[in-house]
Symmetry: C2
DNA sequence: GTAAATAATCTAACACCGTTAAGCAAATGT
DNA sequence: ACATTTGCTTAACGGTGTTAGATTATTTAC
């Protein structure tokens, strides 16, 4: 039965083709246009077979969320490894986060923006925790006066995240506002530097 | 025809009863549970009559958004009038904003959180502009070196808003996180003071 | 090779959604 | 008393996520 592997590989292929189709629809028509039947259309099947690969629509969204965190994690990891000094690491990592939000707008909306309701599941997602762990580590290394408590790190982490997520939200929501890109980058970097400086003061 | 006024008043009553019903459903079951038929059930009518009072579902949401901005505007105005010094005004206003977000969670989600997609309509809402105008005015008064450009105000406005909206989002999304209320309030006030200080440096 | 068993896929349906059109019944105007 | 308008309902359309049953294709067993 050497064909068993081939069949398993085929199943894996259509599984990812479902995810690709979903992502494709979202990128061209937005989240609200994503429907099971439309996904089925695109992979040239009928809707019910999707339920052989995912428990329901939310299952697809969850898997896409995981994908998003993998991409984000890779970007942040690379930004971190591109620098030596913690201060530079930190700025580069948050800029990577910022860039991810705009180059993968749909992912970011899924991960942080779209429906504030659910989100209970995502708490226990390995990939998400990896991202916050990386950021937390660098934040810890920013403190000169050791030892550092968990709460210290947590507080600074939320401070960073808040201003960056806030800036991103506002810019995703109002892309045609009066703010220019340079202005935003300036706000972003100023804010990062400000928080970073405030850590040892 | 003295009854004409009475009839008009009745119509206005059911109009607000529609809004009240919608709000009630959202508060008890969340935004995703809001449907025209459920609203109709609650006001003891059938769904189609709602369309005599609102053009569509989004019309209801828009009116609720307006209501939200009225409440928020009142809170911010009062916070402003409770203090003399611009620095105190600013802090009180943003704390009012913060408190609004949590005491009127559903409104805040509607105004800033739920579906990042549309939002094109809300740009031209009088009530929303009043709020940002109030905040902008106080921000302007914080600058000691006049004259101030529109861009200066805009930038600081976005900086304030970003960090506060970011903090709120994160706390609305992850209410059971490791952050305590005091910690959040500390982050909030620290951030406000930080931005305020940075204005004249 | 043929028959039974299993897997893959589809059709049809359910219950819900937002929305619209047609119809009915009561109140109103003439 | 008749015609007209008003208030409201029922029924329907096209869409959604999801499930059950039938159908077809493939694999297995003899």
């Amino acid at each position: 039965m050497g064909s068993k592997e081939r069949i398993l590989r085929l199943k894996e292929e259509t599984r990812t083709s479902i995810l690709d189709a979903a992502l494709n629809i979202v990128q061209t028509e937005g989240w609200q246009a994503l429907s099971m039947r439309k996904i089925a259309d695109q992979i040239e099947y009928t809707a019910p077979i999707i339920y052989e690969y995912f428990p329901n629509k939310e299952g697809i969204l969850l898997e896409l969320t995981r994908r998003g965190y993998q991409i984000l994690g890779k970007a942040i990891r690379e930004a971190r490894d591109d620098h030596e000094k913690p201060e530079d690491k930190m700025e580069a990592m948050w800029v990577a986060y910022w860039n991810f939000a705009f180059s993968h707008k749909e992912f970011y909306q899924l991960m942080y923006g779209v429906d504030m309701v659910c989100c209970t599941v995502k708490n226990s997602m390995q990939e998400a925790e990896q991202v916050s762990a990386m950021l937390g580590d660098v934040i810890e290394s920013l403190f000169k006066n050791k030892p550092v408590t968990e709460d210290d790190i947590c507080m600074k982490y939320y401070t960073y995240w808040s201003i960056i997520h806030g800036l991103i939200s506002i810019n995703l929501v109002r892309p045609n506002g009066r703010t220019t890109d340079e202005l935003n980058q300036q706000i972003l970097k100023d804010a990062i530097k400000g928080i970073t400086l405030s850590i040892n003061s």
